[in-house]
């Protein structure tokens, strides 16, 4: 079976269910195409949780390897992306909260207090606000961060997040809230300033 020619990652391709059916029968070329389609998203989930490229790379690869191994449990017709993202999130959190990761000082983060003066209006403000937000995300606990990433970025339901992380939906709700509250607090000077700027720009 020739499969040297590769379709572009973002280009059109055969229906994914078809690819996955092939992959379930052991077709690695089909699975490779599935990987190509979902790699950015899976890597993104991993990176946002573990916050280091090398680790995210490991997590992303491992997520696809495990997806391959569990492919017979994957129900065709379901979306593959969330499924493999949940695997990645689970791996990522398990890693970040492992004792070894903590010893090595994995990113508990180092959020800075934003300066009282958000600086000149315009793009600089946005960049600054984003930096602050990113640091605040880094400062979340890994558990909070995972829940937040899966909800805010992946837009998963509480049930899906609960399943991915092995926690109850109620825990998802409270962790998510605490994460958001901390982030909103860190970001609030900028949200206010942004509002001011918007009004100025709109009038």
């Amino acid at each position: 079976m020739g499969h040297s020619a590769r379709p572009p990652e973002t280009g059109p391709g055969p229906d994914e269910t078809f690819l996955l059916a092939r992959a379930q029968q052991g077709d690695l070329a089909a699975f490779e195409e599935v990987v190509r389609r979902h790699q950015r998203r899976v890597y993104g989930v991993a990176l946002r949780i573990v916050r280091a490229h090398d680790v995210a790379d490991d997590v992303a690869q491992e997520a696809f390897v495990r997806a391959w191994r569990s492919l017979d449990r994957f129900e065709l017709g379901r979306p593959f992306g969330p499924w493999v993202c949940r695997i990645a999130a689970n791996l990522a959190v398990n890693h970040v909260r492992s004792p070894r990761a903590r010893e090595e000082g994995l990113p508990e983060g180092h959020a800075e207090t934003p300066s009282a003066d958000p600086g000149p209006l315009g793009a600089v403000l946005d960049a600054e606000a984003k930096r602050v937000l990113d640091e605040a995300v880094a400062a979340l606990s890994p558990e909070q961060r995972a829940v937040f990433v899966l909800r805010a970025v992946e837009e998963m339901s509480y049930e899906e997040i609960a399943g991915a992380l092995g926690i109850s939906p109620g825990t998802v709700m409270s962790r998510l809230f605490r994460a958001r509250e901390r982030l909103a607090k860190a970001l609030s000077p900028y949200l206010g300033a942004a509002a001011v700027r918007r009004k100025a720009g709109g009038s």
């Binding site: 499969h3 020619a5 379709p7 990652e9 280009g11 059109p12 391709g13 055969p14 229906d15 690695l28 070329a29 699975f31 195409e33 389609r37 950015r40 890597y43 990176l47 916050r51 280091a52 490229h53 090398d54 995210a56 690869q61 491992e62 390897v65 191994r69 569990s70 017979d72 449990r73 379901r78 979306p79 992306g81 492992s98 090595e104 994995l106 984003k130 937000l133 880094a138 909800r151 805010a152 970025v153 837009e155 339901s157 509480y158 899906e160 991915a164 092995g166 709700m173 998510l176 809230f177 958001r180 509250e181 982030l183 970001l187 949200l191 918007r198 009004k199 720009g201 709109g202 009038s203």
Partner: protein, 372 residues
């Protein structure tokens, strides 16, 4: 508002509250600008965080699929198992790797990715999964009641940040009947103002009420336009909605709408193309048949070899036998080594085989599955 009530706001934002609670929150929001403002902040935080890039080094994704594949092809494999996952280097690698210049509208979904819409019965990572996960996997697959908002048939754009109009599937005990939009929309809240600004062109959106809304509309239009680097204001919204629609399109639709790459269509055409290649595979088959694996590792390798044979000679009359022998080898590797990933491989191969139209030895495989 108490911490608990604030927590409900967070859940409200995600449309995860039962209808009764949802109504209570809305009633409160209507009379509490402070909470309305807090809700708007939460939504904004989500949006801003989603816009933060998660960028990989240049060229990373060009080689990634091949690297995954090579792990799956590795002789020890079924997928590079037992290689410690975390063999990554030390603290130097742990520097935060995330932030590079940020683009506001950068959303994660690459074209071609499907929407994670219908709640999926949970199928978590196998061996590293926690007990809770394992339980989850055994649970019968019932559709989750908490359907994410964006799975609604007529998505109001990025409805996620706007708990406003439209069908709002909520938690388990929610009745099927959802109140009309006009009854559930938190009026004149700050959040509403943002919503109006974002989706002012949408039919069915509640009419903007206070002057505050008008201001927000203009201001947001400006912001949109700036974000689009000078493009006309409506376009970013339109693009985004198009993006959402595309992501909502069922996967099956892609098959008809988009052309199939020649390489893959060839690869997936499967058997029944051309005559069986009788001779060329005979030697390989005999070699594998003569193998006498002694350890779990050798059996695992043999399983991979049989599968490789079947893949290399899909039209061969021997492919069927090779598939079954791969299953047998995987099972023996599992029994010899007790490695659960071998069990995974065995059960996956067997299940895949049983789904094949051209499988000729289903009873044999079913017996293998049934045996202890």
């Amino acid at each position: 508002m108490s911490g608990h009530e604030r927590e409900r706001l967070s859940a409200y934002l995600d449309r995860q509250l039962p209808v009764a609670e949802r109504a209570a929150v809305e009633a409160h929001l209507a009379g509490c600008p402070e909470c309305a403002a807090f809700l708007a902040e939460l939504a904004e935080v989500d949006e801003a965080a989603a816009a933060l890039p998660a960028e990989a080094p240049e060229g990373y994704f060009e080689t990634f699929p091949a690297r995954v594949r090579s792990r799956l092809e590795a002789p020890k494999a079924g997928g590079g198992r037992r290689v410690p996952v975390w063999t990554w280097a030390a603290a130097a690698a742990l520097v935060l790797a995330v932030v590079t210049p940020l683009t506001l509208r950068q959303r994660r979904a690459a074209p071609g990715e499907t929407l994670p819409a219908p709640p999926v019965a949970l199928q978590p990572a196998p061996s590293m999964a926690e007990p809770a996960l394992a339980d989850e996997a055994r649970r019968p697959q019932t559709p989750s009641p908490a359907l994410p908002a964006r799975a609604a048939p007529a998505p109001p754009g990025r409805s996620k940040s706007v708990p406003a109009a439209g069908p709002a599937p909520v938690a388990a005990d929610a009745p099927a009947v959802v109140p009309p939009a006009s009854e559930v929309v938190p009026r004149a809240s700050k959040d509403e103002a943002r919503a109006e600004g974002r989706f002012a062109r949408e039919p069915g959106a509640p009419p903007p009420a206070p002057a505050q809304v008008a201001t927000a509309q203009v201001a947001l239009a400006e912001a949109e336009s700036a974000a689009a680097a000078g493009g006309p204001a409506p376009e970013p919204v339109a693009n985004r909605e198009k993006g959402v629609r595309e992501r909502l399109r069922p996967a099956a639709a892609e098959a008809t709408a988009e052309s199939v790459s020649p390489a893959l269509s060839a690869a997936t055409a499967g058997p029944a193309v051309g005559a069986p290649d009788v001779r060329e595979d005979e030697d390989a088959f005999r070699r594998l048949e003569a193998a006498r694996p002694r350890s779990a590792v050798e059996r695992r390798r043999l399983r991979d070899d049989w599968n490789a044979f079947a893949e290399a000679h899909p039209t061969s009359l021997r492919a069927d036998e090779a598939r079954v022998r791969a299953i047998v080898a995987a099972r023996e590797a599992w029994l010899a080594g007790g490695d659960e990933s071998d069990e995974d491989a065995f059960r996956r191969d067997a299940a895949a085989y049983l789904q094949r139209q051209d499988a000729r030895q289903k009873p044999r495989v079913e017996r293998l599955l049934a045996e202890p």
